[in-house]
């Protein structure tokens, strides 16, 4: 079975500061992919970053980076220099043989 757990329903951060969103997962597959999606108030799901499980190097996309701990099955998202536009729901997702999403973390960036 595949599961994705996001244990932080809500988080907040001051503008320009750094915040880390947590995600743990479980799968018996050896080859899989992990994603973070952002869902702003418009509700469109936007891909933020992805990580291939076979790559040891953590993925980065501008201000967004991940800490991928394969043995611990952990995949956290770090947002640096937070901006007001980062306010959104963030979903962690795992794709092994199908795609599974976590319940999401609501992030609020405060001015």
């Amino acid at each position: 079975a595949q599961t994705v757990t996001q244990s932080q329903p809500e988080m907040s951060v001051q503008e320009a500061e750094t915040v880390t969103l947590s995600c743990t997962y479980d799968t018996s597959e050896s080859n899989y992919y992990l994603f973070w999606y952002k869902q702003p108030p418009s509700r469109q799901m936007i891909l933020v970053i992805r990580q291939e499980a076979y790559k040891q190097q953590n993925a980065t996309e501008n201000r967004f980076s991940v800490n991928f701990q394969k043995a611990a099955k952990s995949f956290s998202l770090k947002i640096s220099d937070s901006q007001l536009g980062d306010t959104a729901m963030y979903f962690c997702a795992l794709r092994a043989y199908d795609m599974r999403f976590g319940a999401g973390t609501r992030l609020t960036v405060k001015p």
Binding site: Y37, R43, Q44, I46, L47, D98, M99, F101, A103, G104
Partner: protein, 113 residues
């Protein structure tokens, strides 16, 4: 570049009425297509996926059905809506092979009264 469209953006329907939501993808061929439902404040639930014309796989038994009449068109339907069908419906696509990343459309907000 690839784009994905959904319509309508918003829909209010009475219980017992039929439903048809449409999703189309541009700029790619033979995509894998997906329908998800998102209840208020919740994560995404996969409803259907399709790897080709006329090929539909259902993830959960429900009041809904899906069809793929053309390569880049995916339709979500119901003959009689239930109150529990209310939610936000998202269509997504991925490339045919090795398509591990899914890209989402803007979604349709459905309210059943």
């Amino acid at each position: 570049s690839q784009t994905i469209h959904q319509w309508p953006a918003t829909l209010v329907q009475p219980v017992g009425s039929p439903l048809s939501l449409e999703c189309t993808v541009e700029g790619t061929s033979n995509p894998n297509l997906y329908w998800y439902r998102q209840a208020a404040g919740r994560g995404l639930q996969l409803l259907f996926y399709s790897v080709g014309i006329g090929q539909i796989s259902s993830e959960v038994p429900q009041n809904l059905s899906a069809s793929r009449p053309q390569d880049r068109q995916f339709i979500l339907s119901s003959k009689k809506l239930l109150l529990s069908d209310s939610g936000f419906y998202l269509c997504a696509w991925s490339v045919e092979k090795g398509g591990n990343t899914q890209y989402f459309g803007p979604g349709t907000r459905l309210t059943v009264l």
